[in-house]
């Protein structure tokens, strides 16, 4: 039995030639709306307990509307939603706080709005106060709070009881970094205890670290549902491809997917990685100096050509990335048929694990003005530790450790 089941949801905003027609409809008189604007249509997905799902999409794709329909503030026009459990939303923290009331009074009010009884609220207040860590301010009116303190209280109330489904809408970037870590930990704890997370964000790193599944919304429908890295790559590709959709997705041997997009004026032909001895390799030793050779061919005359590349870890987080625009090595007016070899020499100061290379052939510093070709998972290699001190993490940063016994 799934925790949340969204079945063929559609949401239309209707307008009428006259509001009187709308009123007439309430009394059962059939009236045709003059305009129907469908924000969501045929949205389907099921969520199991403990899953963490990222919802991705461009502005206006219907993300917020979908969340509102799930939380119940908006009623779907068609379809149904089945929820087994309580939903809590961290949408706009501090909504509805009354500045004249104290933190404590506002907590009681906000928790009451969430539907808890007086006893439950009274029992939870010490924990809320402790989590917010605002000490004596708790019994002062909220109007003298800093915005950070308001966020602390709001987050503490919203997460005082573990919900079955927690909706997080980019709110995590508020507050100071200490509290950010603290709230992040609490979300993680909830997740371990079986809470399902629904996260809306434009920030791919938070989606990729928190989520184990992602849903891509476009024009009010789910166009892709799957592994977060794959969805993020695909999303990245479609922002560049608004005009002509030529996004290709290829499944690689290791089960990952390679996403290629672009208008095709120039293409990467070959990517080879050489170690310091000069052999083409797929395994690299920690700290070895390696060369990444990328061959690109120009198919149509263009103004400028820039190669960008990035090294991503297995979660899809970019470890390092730059391009020849930033290194001031732009190729001016390449002609059709010309080929270029880019040799990128760097030290593999990377932790043990699997890494992938993404490449981009573009005209300027981003792929948003012109995107000739964009490849995710263009090349995969592994970093192994042979002769270095054993370490964990994704960065090799060899330390010098000195120990002296202190003489008392």
């Amino acid at each position: 039995m799934s925790l949340l089941s969204v079945q063929d949801i559609g949401k239309a905003f209707r307008s009428y030639r006259s509001e009187w027609q709308r009123f007439a409809r309430w009394f059962g008189i059939p009236m045709q709306p003059s305009e129907e604007h469908w924000v969501l249509r045929h949205v389907n997905f099921d969520v199991a307990a403990g899953e963490a799902i990222g919802i991705i999409g461009q502005n206006g794709a219907g993300k917020s509307t979908l969340l509102k329909v799930i939380t119940g503030t908006l009623k779907p026009t068609e379809g149904a939603i089945h929820i087994n459990g309580r939903i809590a939303a961290i949408l706009e923290l501090g909504m509805g706080f009354n500045p004249e009331l104290t933190g404590r009074q506002n907590v009681i009010h906000a928790a009451g709005l969430m539907g808890f009884s007086m006893d439950e609220i009274q029992a939870a207040i010490p924990a809320i106060q402790a989590f917010a860590e605002i000490e004596e301010y708790f019994d002062e009116p909220v109007r003298i709070y800093s915005s950070g303190m308001q966020v602390r209280i709001a987050f503490a109330v919203a997460t005082a009881w573990r919900p079955e489904i927690l909706i997080v809408d980019e709110a995590l970037s508020v507050g100071d970094s200490y509290f950010q870590h603290k709230s992040f930990n609490r979300i993680r704890e909830f997740q371990d205890q079986g809470t399902t997370l629904l996260i809306v964000s434009h920030d791919r790193s938070s989606i990729q670290t928190l989520c184990d599944r992602a849903i891509l919304l476009e024009n009010g429908t789910v166009i892709k549902d799957g592994n977060p890295e794959e969805i993020c790559d695909f999303y990245n590709a479609i922002i560049a491809e608004k005009k002509d959709r030529t996004v290709q997705v290829k499944r690689l041997d290791n089960g990952k997917t390679q996403t290629t997009s672009g208008t095709g004026e120039a293409r990467v032909e070959e990517i080879v990685l050489y170690n310091s001895v000069g052999d083409a390799v797929e395994f690299v030793e920690v700290g070895d100096t390696v060369e990444l050779r990328i061959t690109a061919k120009v198919y149509q005359p263009i103004e400028t050509l820039v190669l960008g590349y990035g090294i991503k870890d297995r979660l899809g987080q970019v470890m390092y990335g730059t391009n020849t625009w930033h290194t001031k090595q732009v190729i001016e007016r390449p002609k059709a048929g010309e080929r270029y070899q880019f040799t990128i020499r760097f030290t593999a100061n990377l932790g043990v694990g699997s890494y992938s290379i993404q490449t981009a052939l573009v005209d300027k510093d981003t792929h948003l003005t012109a995107n000739y070709e964009w490849q995710d998972m263009a090349f995969v290699f592994n970093v192994v530790n042979i002769d270095k001190t054993h370490f964990v993490g994704c960065l090799w940063s060899e330390p010098v450790i000195k120990i002296e016994e202190m003489v008392a």
Partner: protein, 261 residues
């Protein structure tokens, strides 16, 4: 609906309390301001109009009878006016909250009614104090005010709910209703006694559902007599019909309201 009201009962009570605290937390006189406002109105009318109108109040010896008459009518009217005008803008004011949080919407009008009733109770207590100072006598008839208050509440909930919902879709309502309420106030014998209205227009007063209420309050508080029930029954029936209509529209419009807010 009733189930969710019961489940949220602590929230409703808490919200009424918070509203009071918030309104007066930084003023020195606090809740006293709630009664000063209507009493100042009484004072103004009493000063300006008592000489003109006092003579027209038949059958009372107390020289302050006009002031008592005024207060009696205003007590009924302020309750009605308070609830209707606050319900009128309620959904628009709380639009943001309704868009962001999921909770039973019916709690919102309930909070308004509760806090208006509390205001009215305080006003009533203040007026009783003044009546004692003015040497006005009371008898058990005063208990009639409890069912009468209930009738006014039902009438104003019905009217306020219908107008408040319409106002979400047709914002002109919010501008028109205060004007209508003001005219309505002057077409109800509150400031003046019914005797100054020409006899031939008396029949028209039947069309005013607030007239039986203000006149019942005046009967009880000025003359110490039980009110006549026939016309009150009509008002109660009108109130019940409007409330049922309001709740029906509320159920129908609930989903659409958030769409346009």
């Amino acid at each position: 609906m009733i189930h969710s009201l019961w489940r949220y009962r602590y929230f409703i009570i808490g919200a009424i309390k918070s509203e009071l605290i918030a309104r007066f937390s930084r003023s020195k006189l606090g809740a006293i301001w709630m009664v000063i406002n209507p009493l100042a109105q009484v004072l103004i009318y009493a000063l300006i109009l008592s000489n003109v109108l006092a003579a027209k109040l038949p059958g009372i010896e107390n020289k302050y009878s006009y002031s008592i008459y005024l207060m009696a009518g205003l007590l009924a009217w302020t309750l009605f006016h308070d609830i209707v005008s606050r319900l009128l803008t309620l959904f628009i004011e709380q639009g943001n909250l309704m868009k962001k949080m999921s909770f039973p919407r019916i709690t919102l009008p309930t909070i308004v009614v509760g806090s208006s009733l509390l205001n009215n109770l305080l006003l009533f207590i203040a007026m009783l104090g003044i009546f004692v100072l003015l040497n006005q006598q009371f008898n058990p008839v005063i208990l009639w005010l409890i069912p009468l208050t209930l009738v006014i509440v039902i009438l104003s909930i019905g009217l306020g709910l219908v107008l408040g919902i319409i106002n979400v879709f047709l914002r002109d309502t919010g501008q028109v209703v205060p004007i209508v309420l003001q005219m309505w106030f002057w077409f109800t014998p509150i400031v003046y006694p019914i005797s100054i209205i020409p006899q031939k227009y008396h029949d028209l007063l039947i069309l005013n559902p607030m007239y039986p209420m203000t006149s019942a309050y005046q009967q009880i508080l000025v003359y110490g007599q039980a009110p006549s029930l026939d016309s009150i029954a009509i008002t109660a029936a009108v109130g019940c019909t409007l409330t049922l209509l309001g709740l029906f529209i509320f159920r129908r419009a609930n989903a659409e309201m958030v769409d346009v807010l």
